[in-house]
Symmetry: D2
Subunit: 285 residues, 4 copies
């Protein structure tokens, strides 16, 4: 863990001088740029996106001065939105699960292997089935039943999450979260949908995939917005199936895709590789 | 080209004795079974599908007697639908194209290489752009403009096709064919749709894919039915794209998938590997 | 679990009448054939392979009589090798692991989910790191250190395995097993190699892949023979990498491929879908 | 075609200030940066690679002054290697082919579609089979037979190529080119090898793939160096095959991969996306 390493994300209306502005400030702070990816949506007047990873000498001490310089140039002169995130500041995840174990276990396992460089603050579930799994990996598990009206459950969720999480991951949580809840949370929520969106929006995608006779099935990780399955897509993948696969076979094959897709999306989000662009995403890989 | 080789397709309501019935008749005719694939949709009372490739001694002379035996057993006793197709009887294709060359050229090229073992009877187009390409490959080209009412064009199509084709391939023809036309044709029609169906049904799929921000784009080859883009799917595939790809980039990457998917679907159809199962397909590969 | 369901594998020198012979015997025993795949390596005098899944009325009671009939026809008249395996007779696996958890956990997890329909008899390791993981899944764990000469360890392995396993899976065991040991075992051994064989045979494939600058890395599951990494391949897959991936990144991406490839190979073996054909395999999917 | 657009490639020993140096010069020249990708092999003292696409106001007139400024900063102060290539300066390709048409046609076809933004100066072949194909696409075709000693043929090649080509593409040319020839040419040569290198180096890869029983076959596009099949890899891909595929089937499936892989590699090279890094490549996509 390099205490001097940080990720700088910049986006906003494209105009001349942004790359030069950023790089000259970084040079002033004796930063070593490790990678820089820049992308503009259009040659004329589009949106500008830049992700820079740099080692900045004595980052902890210099950070206030650096942020002042960045804000003056990027926020002030150039009108850009920017964030500077030291990679040593690990994001805190809260994972929501239900009864299916595959997405949850994939995240817990990658976390234990050191592949997912975050803190997993807690697992919240409307069922108790996965309590032992979470605890085996040393993660606190909270059982919050959801019955009828969700108000009580969402209040309990907020109580648990307040100040403890930077990202919510719905790991096949199978419950719709309310717009009020999203608003009250104020942090990003990533969901895994078990189809290749926008095909098979809504419930029962594997059964509908079987009925439609598709030859590939997929999974989609996306940010949750108030419109079900309509949020910005972060990652998708598919796997080949045949006529001989039953709907349960599709679900089984699909589970393998779901856990890979969700794990990649969460990892990219936590490495500050994903920027929302309206209802789409820019993913710097 | 082995004159004794044939493909036998059998399907119908599953019941005991079908495999034994077929194989004992083939044994009586001193057939050498090269491959046999059998699939039932359900352990109890589902639908039975079987594809058998066999070398049958002196097929040309024995065919009437063999067909009589098969009909007695399969059609009569077991109530199955069946077809016996000597592989030396090449299917006759008519390809409909418009202005895009990629799907047409892929088919013409594979045909010339000997990969697509069919006769290409003609290319029909509502534009004249691809006339030189078709003729370079030695294939007759007919320009049938379509204006306003399609009745006249479809009448001309029928006149050209009558008795000359066993399969129509819509190679990015971009025109909706009428239900009456399909009915009058009485032969299968395969279309390539430039999206991963059922996502992006209808017009402009690449633009809509760009707007939705999908991370994979695809193509779907399907039999044409009266409901647009709703027919049985034969083959699908996808390719990865990124935020940096514009809608024209998606179209360009997608074109590569379209031509591969269509070529595979046409090849499998012509090798008698595809059986319709309601609105889905069984594809024996 | 259907007690009447069985898988019949038949292979040997191709000759007329095998399919008919099998299917007429199955018909005599009032079997319902669920799927049948047959493949011959050559039109003339090649090798014949057939896999049949059937529900056989009262299998338990009828099995001796059925096996007598099959042996008379297949073993006697037609000179074929055959096995009949009720699907209710689950194979017993012994998994060898070392320090890496990913392949072991994938197998234990799929087993718990009911995807891998086998009994996992034990985990054997030359290190104790994975003891808690195995036990969390309720599987006995034996720590058998290997130092210098392997004779003592292999003797202990044989003692543990004798009569308790039908298949050995080397889940990144990282130790060469001796030819004598393979011979004494007398059961199949499946290994996962962390490269796309035959590229990067031997040690350190990810480092060598980095040095060679390949754009895809892969994994290979194969039966173990006395020649290292030369046994019959069951399954392979790859994942795309870039110049920006370090050798540890390749190992991390590769681990995901390894566990999927090994899990598929083990599953297919346990479903009697794999037949060895010299140094290659026929895999009925 | 934007006459002001250029690609700037910079590489060399990493040191502080390169990104800032480039971007401040570009800002001085009122350039609009469209995309910038930067990659360093190591945090400390590795190699630095940067690809920048920019629209530079009045590029044609300003180019000498811009190049002077870049050389002073990049070549002089920072010791970097750099190239500035206006995208309006299309690279001139010479394609070498033999009897196989698939790779040649893919390139000619993409060129005609406007996907491959280059000039194809000529096709050279040791056989005359593909003359009509090349000429149909309006490309000069030269038949240069190769018999026994290659000296005469290579002299004729050099005579044809001298001053007329920026890149040689061996589109299944199937002849080894001599080290002297490579040296005399002084321009890059891209070859397509019909296997997933480093597996199956040398002749007959599909037959050897069949014998080894691999489950995927691949193709590799690489720069040609004096060591056969050992040059820096630009792109690779694979396709799934089964036991039922004969060696000719593998060749047929592989041909589809070959042409896609070669076309991508040529396109990336011609878009100045590929930088050699010793015996590997950095590919900015």
């Amino acid at each position: 863990m390099n205490p001097d390493r940080a990720v700088l994300l910049v986006h906003g209306t494209d105009r001349p001088g942004i790359v030069a502005g950023v790089s000259s400030i970084l040079l002033d702070f004796r930063a070593n740029i490790l990678s820089l990816d820049q992308y503009s949506t259009d040659a004329d007047g589009g949106t500008f996106y830049q992700r820079t990873v740099a080692d900045i000498a004595d980052l902890r001490a210099e950070r206030p001065r650096l942020e002042t310089a960045l804000e003056k140039k990027l926020g002030g002169e150039l009108g850009m939105t920017w964030t500077l995130t030291p990679t040593s500041e690990r994001k805190r995840l809260a994972i929501f699960a239900s009864k299916s174990d595959h997405c949850l276990l994939e995240l817990l396992w990658r976390h234990r292997r050191g592949e997912l460089d975050v803190d997993i603050a807690m697992v919240i579930s409307n069922h108790s089935d996965l309590a032992a799994d979470a605890r085996q990996f040393g993660i606190p598990f909270f059982h919050v039943p959801v019955m009828g009206d969700k108000t009580a459950a969402e209040a309990e969720h907020l109580r648990l999450l307040q100040g403890n999480a930077d990202l919510i991951v719905l790991a096949r949580y199978m419950q719709i979260v309310s717009d009020d809840f999203l608003h009250a949370l104020g942090i990003p929520v990533i969901n895994i949908h078990h189809s290749f969106l926008p095909a098979f929006i809504g419930a029962g995608p594997y059964l509908r995939a079987k009925e439609r006779g598709v030859k590939l099935i997929g999974a989609t990780a996306h940010y949750v917005t108030k419109d079900l399955d309509e949020g910005p897509i972060i990652e998708q993948d598919v796997v080949r199936v045949t006529h001989a696969d039953s709907a349960p076979d599709l679900a089984r094959h699909g589970a393998n895709v779901e856990r890979q897709v969700l794990a990649r999306a969460v990892q990219w989000h936590c490495e500050d590789r994903v920027v929302r662009d309206g209802n789409t995403t820019v993913v710097f890989r």
